[in-house]
């Protein structure tokens, strides 16, 4: 007969299971300090004025943040996707716009050239992007092709030693400060998405100009613009990856980018939660602290728990990428969950602040406006659900 005593398990010690390594902690703490001391004080002003803070970008470069996931021989520090996500998360806690600036520069503006550029393009541009000589941007979206990016209309026609570009891209983050923009264009219309190729477009070439971006709901401290190509010629060797694989390249880029947008959403959610927690512990109503009112305490409990879930999803996707495993589904899950989490947390934070939350004097209404980008950029929530569904249901 079995005895009634519980079995004794010896659990394996969590080394780096869910814990962060010392290097990751050092990077997180350093960025946290920087974010609190130098990014947070500008968050309100850059939002009010729709201003891209060049001074903050310079500091981000000095601290080496754009190089976190890239190898040392290109000027990076080879610390992987997770460390890079920690940086985006910490910055986004205090300023979503600045988090987006970094995420777009690294994941969209630099990574594709690093991954698919071949030695020539990689050595020509990646070190400069990492060293912050200029920014990187990425133009996939067109006025008539967003979620359905297979419907790209911009064309690239090979003419001697160059490709001739015609068309228009919109909503392109960091474009005004970009030294390179990576774009997609149709090289063979008859092949559908398989006829789309990717290109690196350097700044200052004839036939390429920018048009000022519209004013935005949130993320106002992040820069954007439209790109216009009218017979713009780029050297033939600025084709990024093989001809006809541009669509694939971009989809792969977005998979990685989604992890960092996951970190962005997570950061905004945590920022709102931290503000709400602090406020609820100070403000009194009906003779006690708001946090001691059960209805408010439960909101805070949910926010804390869901932020923890978001963390696990984002860090897990980042670790899969760092381990060289497939991570597309997990990246979409992390991005989808934290985007919607950012909306919930900022919404509840405003509720906890009451009228003060609605006022521009307090940061939570800005966080709410910033959060909305997360459910749209780099694939809307609907698109993420399509990807996850395809992955779990299986596709023929």
């Amino acid at each position: 007969m079995r005895t009634a005593t519980h079995a004794q398990y010896t659990l394996p010690r969590l080394e780096h299971g869910l814990e962060l390594s010392n290097d990751q902690l050092a990077i997180r703490d350093m960025v946290r300090e920087f974010a609190v001391e130098e990014v947070a004080p500008l968050a309100h002003e850059i939002d009010e004025n729709h201003r891209f803070p060049v001074e903050t970008w310079k500091r981000i470069v000095e601290l080496g943040l754009p190089g976190i996931p890239f190898p040392e021989h290109l000027g990076g520090s080879d610390q992987g996707t997770l460390a890079y996500c920690l940086a985006v998360e910490e910055i986004s806690k205090v300023c979503g716009s600045t988090g987006l600036t970094l995420a777009a520069h690294v994941s969209l503006g630099t990574y594709p050239i690093f991954a698919w550029g071949g030695d020539k393009l990689r050595n020509a541009y990646v070190p400069k992007l990492i060293a912050g000589e200029y920014m990187g941007a990425y133009g996939l979206t067109e006025p008539g092709a967003g979620s359905d990016s297979g419907g790209t209309r911009t064309t690239a026609v090979l003419d001697g030693d160059s490709y001739v570009l015609n068309g228009r891209k919109c909503f392109c983050t960091n474009a005004n400060h970009a030294g390179t923009v990576i774009i997609t264009a149709v090289t063979d219309k008859s092949l559908g998405p398989k006829g789309i190729s990717a290109f690196v477009v350097p700044r200052g070439i004839a036939g390429y100009h920018l048009e000022k971006g519209e004013k935005k709901l949130g993320m106002r401290g992040s820069d954007w613009a439209s790109l216009v190509f009218e017979d713009a010629r780029i050297p033939r060797d600025h084709l990024l990856g093989p001809e006809g694989e541009g669509f694939k390249t971009f989809m792969k880029t977005l998979e990685g980018g989604r992890i960092s947008i996951g970190a962005l959403g997570l950061g905004i959610a945590e920022g709102a939660y931290e503000c709400a927690l602090k406020y609820a512990q100070e403000r009194e109503a009906f003779g006690k602290k708001l946090s001691d009112q059960q209805a408010v305490g439960f909101k805070l409990a949910n926010m804390a728990m869901e932020c923890e879930i978001g963390k696990h999803l984002v860090y897990h996707a980042a670790r899969l990428k760092d381990a060289g495993k497939s991570y597309g589904k997990e990246a979409s899950m992390a991005k989808l969950y934290t985007s919607e989490l950012a909306m919930r947390c900022t919404y509840e934070a405003i509720q906890i602040y009451g009228g003060y939350g609605y006022s521009r004097e307090y940061p939570v209404e800005r966080m709410w406006r910033d959060a909305k980008l997360c459910t749209i950029g780099e694939g809307t929530s609907e698109v993420q659900r399509m990807i996850i569904a395809r992955s779990v249901i299986g596709r023929k």
């Binding site: 050092a26 990077i27 350093m30 080496g64 520090s77 610390q79």
Partner: protein
């Protein structure tokens, strides 16, 4: 120039202090630690001094638990060259003089030109170890320094702020300086620094025990602040306010 910066691992400023069960200090469970605020200024000044002089070595030194390696590595990431950890199992109950003696023994061996410490550690708030160290080492010492210049010929100029105003000192190397807020703006490590720190040596040294001469009898949290009271509004309330400030609060 050979420079030593002494640093201390202290409970993070956001720590919600609880008294330990023995009633003699802080309950260590759940406490996060950090580099003491003024020591960060000391490390920064040590690095800047080396940069200004153009050559030399910055050694960071601490007496603490094995975990204090984290704070030392942080200093290495900011630019110090190497670190020494005097591993002390009794670190949390150590008094100022025994701390100073243990540090002085190591600094004596290292024989640096200049020693920097923070003005005060943010946990014990004693401001004693710096001056004690200088005394044990027989060095000139200026405390609470807000400006430091290295002159030629082994001379320093130091300014300190006191209640009376700014005092200016000239002193000769070897010397010890305790650092006050305002002396500099400490830098962030940056990714390059964090990577470089991994290759820099951290030497762990077991310490000989030196007895404490004072011990904490009991520790108590400060009494809870009394609730504020509004005595009235507008000019009419001024007499009542003055009365309350004189009689109840006894501050005017």
């Amino acid at each position: 120039m050979k420079i030593v910066a002494c640093i201390k691992r202290v409970p993070a400023t956001e720590t919600q202090a609880k008294i330990a069960a023995n009633g003699k200090g802080l309950e260590p469970a759940g406490v996060e630690y950090m580099l003491s605020f003024y020591d960060e200024i000391a490390v920064e000044e040590a690095i800047r001094t080396k940069e200004r002089v153009g050559s030399g070595e910055v050694i960071v030194l601490t007496l603490g638990p094995a975990e204090a390696r984290k704070e030392l590595v942080e200093c290495l990431a900011k630019g110090a060259d190497r670190a020494i950890l005097l591993v002390d199992p009794a670190w949390s109950s150590r008094d100022s003089l025994s701390t100073a003696k243990l540090l002085a023994a190591k600094i004596g061996e290292l024989a640096p030109d200049l020693v920097f410490t923070g003005r005060v550690a943010t946990d014990t708030d004693s401001a004693a170890v710096g001056p004690m160290l200088a005394t044990l080492l027989g060095r000139g010492c200026v405390t609470d320094v807000v400006k430091l210049t290295i002159e030629g010929g082994g001379k320093l100029k130091a300014e300190r702020e006191s209640e009376a105003g700014i005092e200016m000192y000239e002193l000769a190397l070897p010397a010890l300086i305790t650092c006050q807020k305002g002396l500099n703006e400490p830098r962030y490590a940056g990714l390059k620094g964090i990577m470089a720190a991994k290759k820099k040596p951290v030497e762990e040294v077991a310490v000989q025990d030196v007895p404490n001469q004072i011990a904490v009898e009991t520790a108590q949290l400060p009494p809870a602040r009394k609730e504020g009271r509004i005595v009235g509004t507008g000019a009419a309330a001024v007499p009542a306010l003055l009365e309350a400030l004189r009689k109840e609060a006894q501050v005017v």
